[in-house]
């Protein structure tokens, strides 16, 4: 019978509109832009914050004070800093002024048995960040050594640290931020599309025309939702494949796609509900933006939010709880969509 057919026809009509306007290309371009720029951003930031990224950069420290010997010992253990001893604080500062050193460290023993360290770093130059990060490394090592000398005064000794390993912070970023963002962007776009599609039909009066045709309102909603939901997983898949080609393996791709399709359905249901309540496009888009913001902001902040679920699936740290979460999202999406569709089919759109 024509019911499934008419849904497909409406979905096809929606997709044809998108194809004619080539809007989907713009959507992909936007996502590409976000991906490229966030990578750029991270590479830039990492090269500032990860001393290893600056090839062989070593911070020259001009040191003075009566505790400087231990500081020199600490510098031997740290790769990013070398300490040069000066006779007194004045000489060390002079070296700093003359650009012979990047920073001044004056280490003196105080009366209480501790060490006072006065650090002078250059004011806002390109390297200040790197210098401070390296100094922190040096001083932490220094602190660990000093602490070890005072072990008998401690009730509990600190745990020994495992060996240092080289690792890029970019790795964690890729899985916990970049992939969730790329997976969820198509979700928002699909919902926004539905809002536009429905409010535009109402505005131009073509929804009335459609209703003269032998289709029910529910079928119209189904068709529009089908079109919007169907374009989402493809985009996400494209990104995941691109990342894989780029040397970032993504695990559990089917599960990620199921999760994001469920979320798309949920957001599309929200979009349909909003356009039923506020048929004016401005109001509808405004409400939709806020709704999505609330929904995703809230969900991300909760334990087991969708962004975290995608990250864990992608990085291959998923467990039974993650699978249960995916199933739960599918169930919630199904219930929400069926509920909204029934409401709209019974009450119709306003306006």
């Amino acid at each position: 019978m024509g019911s499934a057919d008419s849904r497909l026809t409406i979905a096809g009509r929606e997709l044809a509109g998108l194809r004619a306007e080539k809007t989907i290309l713009l959507a992909v371009a936007i996502q590409l832009f976000i991906a490229a720029f966030s990578s750029f951003l991270v590479v830039g930031l990492v090269s500032m914050y990860d001393p290893g990224a600056l090839d062989g950069a070593e911070v020259e420290v001009a040191a003075a004070g009566d505790a400087v010997t231990d500081l020199e010992r600490a510098a031997d253990e740290v790769s990013g800093a070398s300490v040069t001893r000066y006779e007194n604080a004045g000489a060390a500062r002079l070296a700093f002024e003359r650009n012979a050193a990047d920073a001044v460290v004056i280490a003196t023993r105080d009366d209480g048995g501790g060490v006072d360290v006065h650090v002078t770093a250059p004011d806002t130059t390109v390297e200040t960040t790197v210098i401070v990060v390296q100094l922190r490394d040096l001083l932490r090592t220094y602190e660990v050594n000093e602490r070890a000398q005072r072990a008998e005064f401690l009730t509990e000794s600190p745990l020994p640290l495992p060996d240092r390993t080289g690792s890029s912070p970019y790795f964690t970023f890729t899985y916990t931020v970049l992939i969730p963002v790329l997976v969820f962007l198509p979700v928002f776009i699909s919902g926004s599309l539905v809002v536009d599609s429905i409010t535009e039909e109402i505005d131009r009066g073509t929804l009335e025309l459609l209703r003269v045709a032998p289709v029910t309102l529910g079928e119209i909603v189904d068709g529009k939702a089908l079109a919007a939901v169907s374009i989402a997983p493809g985009q996400a898949l494209l990104w995941l494949l691109l990342l894989r080609a780029n040397g970032t393996p993504v695990a559990n791709v089917p599960a990620i796609l199921v999760l994001m399709t469920a979320l798309t359905t949920l957001v599309v249901a929200l979009a349909v509900a909003i356009s039923a309540l506020a048929p004016d496009r401005r109001a509808a888009q405004f409400l939709y933006s806020i709704g999505v913001l609330v929904l995703f902001g809230g969900a991300t902040a909760m334990a087991g939010g969708p962004a975290n679920a995608v990250a864990r699936l992608a990085i291959d740290s998923a467990d039974a709880a993650t699978t249960a979460l995916v199933v739960a999202y599918v169930a919630i999406a199904a219930v929400a969509y069926v509920g909204v569709r029934r409401l709209v089919a019974e009450n119709g759109f306003e306006g």
């Binding site: 950069a57 002024e97 003359r98 002078t120 250059p122 390297e127 922190r136 405004f286």
Partner: protein
């Protein structure tokens, strides 16, 4: 003039009344309800302790014996999740296994086996950080604070007293200059010039230009909002541990940046309403009555835009008051707001449907947000940050002085860009474009062609006549107007290609930049031929090609001068933006040749493209590719000569 203002205000009033009807009270109530629900849920969650934006929660699995003290460290770190050591299989159920051998007393040793993947490495790094944090917490509970935290650090930033050489000797002995990627530029050569130690006062370097930071979490009294060093790293430790090494943080204007971002958020809502309003005029010919009034298109558009500009100013001022910004913040955000509105206006003029408009609005907001926000991150690092006016906001929030030159450098290009976009959009604010469904590309050509005057072959006969040069001058002017957009596109190309290795990125960059420039110089010529403004003859093609090339050359030189004055050290590379730097010391003849070689190049390449443009779309595409290749070859030659 007064009349005109009155007319604009009338349209503005009408627009305000209409916009109020669109977003009615019920909508606002619904939005408020949604937000308050979210607030309640989030508040409840915070109270219950299940809320926290840990996107990296439980991403690494660590096999650890539940009895081991390391289990506590793993437990406390959100990104690590403990797996019982005896059930953990490396690579399958765990990324890292902790072998904790206790050999009596304090003589504990730890070995870590990570799976041999990047994930394993990342997990090991996270684990190390977790143990460090655990130790800090452990020590905070010790009674003997001096033994627990034997080192007290006070960090101070001081400018070197000689202003000339503020480049540090990163990597000192081995050649100076922190050679790594993005940090090039200002450091390097100056560092070797000596500092003449005239301010070598012993004692304190104090006085001007120093800022003290004790970098602790507990010193509420010292926490002043203008501090450039937010103690985000130190908040986790217990009270009474003043300035431990772990608590010092680099001078990253984190808080100011976050606050600056708050200025951008309302723009997204604003442009949604604005775009809807403009497109509303175009659906069902609603804008027709307004069009037949004596109002000019520019007046209509100005009137329609005014309420949104006012809203932007009000919202910005409110945010500025809330976050502690001054007038400078508002002045800096204004061009950003104008560009948001201008780009949306053009998008709404070109879009065929709400759907298309949505994509345009999303595109505009994503693009402009990144363009404004990303450079601001580097506020304290490099002058390039001033490309974005948001950098001024960050400066303002940090209570740092901004010179008039910096403010102008930062705001003028964006304001200019907004004005040009409005010029483009207003060109098609006429019946034949407003109410028709043309593809975006054709509308774009229309908008360009509007700005051109007819060039006929016979009108080129007497070239000396001033009247007859006017059409060519309009061609050159239109080309010159593309400069800001060319600049942005090139910046973008540099940013996107940034991550590639230099051997690949430089050639690709040269070709991409050549293409962008050739496109900018010839696309309006194509529009002129297609819309019949120019006669399709070779003579006309040569004439407009040369005019366009000359216009581009002059505009580029003008911006080069501005750049040389404003900021010479664009790290994005001299390859991208011509050869301003490094021409000193060449003989005059070469200098003159260098100055005019680009003119020749632009003229020739654009003429090639124009010849193609006069012969239809396919020929234009081919000729454009050819022109881009010529241009790229030239760029490549210049780069290799310059070294």
């Amino acid at each position: 003039m007064i009349d005109r203002l009155r007319r604009i205000l009338r349209v503005a009033r009408w627009e305000t009344a209409r916009a109020g009807g669109g977003v009615d009270r019920r909508t606002l109530l619904a939005a408020l309800a949604l937000l308050s629900v979210a607030g309640v849920v989030l508040g409840g969650g915070l109270a219950a302790g299940v809320v926290g934006i840990d996107v990296d929660r439980d991403v690494y699995r660590v096999g650890v014996d539940p009895g081991s003290p390391y289990a506590d460290a793993v437990e406390a770190e959100p990104s690590l999740t403990p797996v019982s050591a005896d059930r953990a299989t490396l690579g399958e159920t765990a990324d890292l296994v902790v072998l904790d051998a206790e050999r009596g007393g304090a003589d504990r040793e730890v070995a870590v086996i990570a799976s041999d993947t990047r994930k394993g490495e990342a997990a090991a790094a996270e684990f190390r950080a977790a143990v460090e944090a655990h130790n800090e917490r452990l020590m905070a509970t010790e009674e003997n604070a001096t033994a627990a935290f034997p080192v007290t650090v006070s960090l101070r930033y001081a400018s070197r007293t000689t202003p000339l050489d503020d480049g540090a000797t990163l990597g000192g002995a081995d050649g100076g200059g922190g050679g790594g990627g993005s940090s090039g530029g200002s450091d390097g050569d100056e560092a070797t010039g000596d500092g003449s130690g005239e301010g070598g006062d012993t004692g304190d370097t104090g006085g001007t230009g120093t800022r003290d930071s004790t970098g602790t979490g507990d010193s509420a009294g010292q926490e002043d909002s203008g501090l450039a060093v937010p103690s985000i790293g130190g908040g986790a430790f217990g009270a009474g541990t003043v300035g431990t090494p772990g608590a010092i943080a680099p001078p990253f204007p984190f808080a100011s940046l976050l606050l600056a971002f708050a200025f951008l958020v309302p723009m997204n809502f604003l442009i949604q309403a604005y775009g809807s309003s403009v497109l509303d005029e175009r659906t069902n010919r609603r804008g027709e009555p307004l069009l037949v009034t004596p109002l000019s298109p520019a007046e209509i558009v100005a009137g329609k835009t005014l309420p949104y500009v006012a809203a932007a100013v009000l919202v910005t001022a409110a945010i500025a008051v809330a976050v502690g910004g001054g007038v400078l913040s508002v002045v800096a955000v204004l061009p950003i707001a104008a560009t948001f509105l201008a780009a949306t206006f053009v998008g709404a003029m070109f879009a065929r449907s709400f759907k298309e408009l949505t994509f345009v609005t999303v595109g505009v907001s994503v693009f402009l947000t990144t363009y404004a926000f990303v450079p601001a991150i580097f506020t304290n690092v490099t002058p390039v940050a001033l490309v974005s006016p948001l950098t001024l906001v960050v400066f303002d929030l940090q209570d740092e002085a901004v010179s008039l030159g910096e403010a102008l450098f930062s705001t003028t290009p964006m304001a200019l860009g907004a004005a040009l976009l409005y010029g483009l959009g207003i060109g098609v604010y006429r019946e034949e474009d407003l109410f028709t469904q043309k593809p975006v590309a054709r509308k774009f050509l229309d908008a360009l062609a509007v700005r051109l005057s007819a060039v006929e072959p016979d009108s080129l006969g007497a070239i000396a006549s001033r009247d007859r040069l006017r059409p060519l001058a309009s061609v050159a002017l239109l080309t010159a107007c593309t400069i800001p957009f060319v600049f942005v596109a090139e910046l973008l190309a540099v940013a996107v290609l940034f991550a590639l290795p230099v051997t690949v990125s430089i050639p690709v960059l040269l070709v991409v930049i050549a293409f962008i420039e050739e496109l900018a110089k010839s696309v309006h010529l194509y529009a002129g031929f297609e819309r019949g403004v120019f006669a399709r003859t070779d003579r006309v093609a040569v004439a407009v090609g040369l005019a366009s090339g000359a216009g581009f050359f002059l505009a580029e030189k003008a911006t080069a001068v501005v750049q040389a004055v404003g900021l010479t050290e664009l790290y994005v590379g001299r390859a991208a933006f011509g050869s301003v730097a490094g021409v000193e010391g060449l003989p005059v003849g070469v200098l003159v040749a260098l100055l005019f070689a680009p003119l020749l190049l632009h003229g020739v390449a654009t003429t090639v493209a124009a010849m193609g443009a006069s012969r239809g779309r396919t020929r234009y595409a081919l000729a454009l590719a050819l022109a881009a290749l010529i241009h790229a070859a030239y760029n490549f030659a210049v780069v290799s000569v310059h070294g």
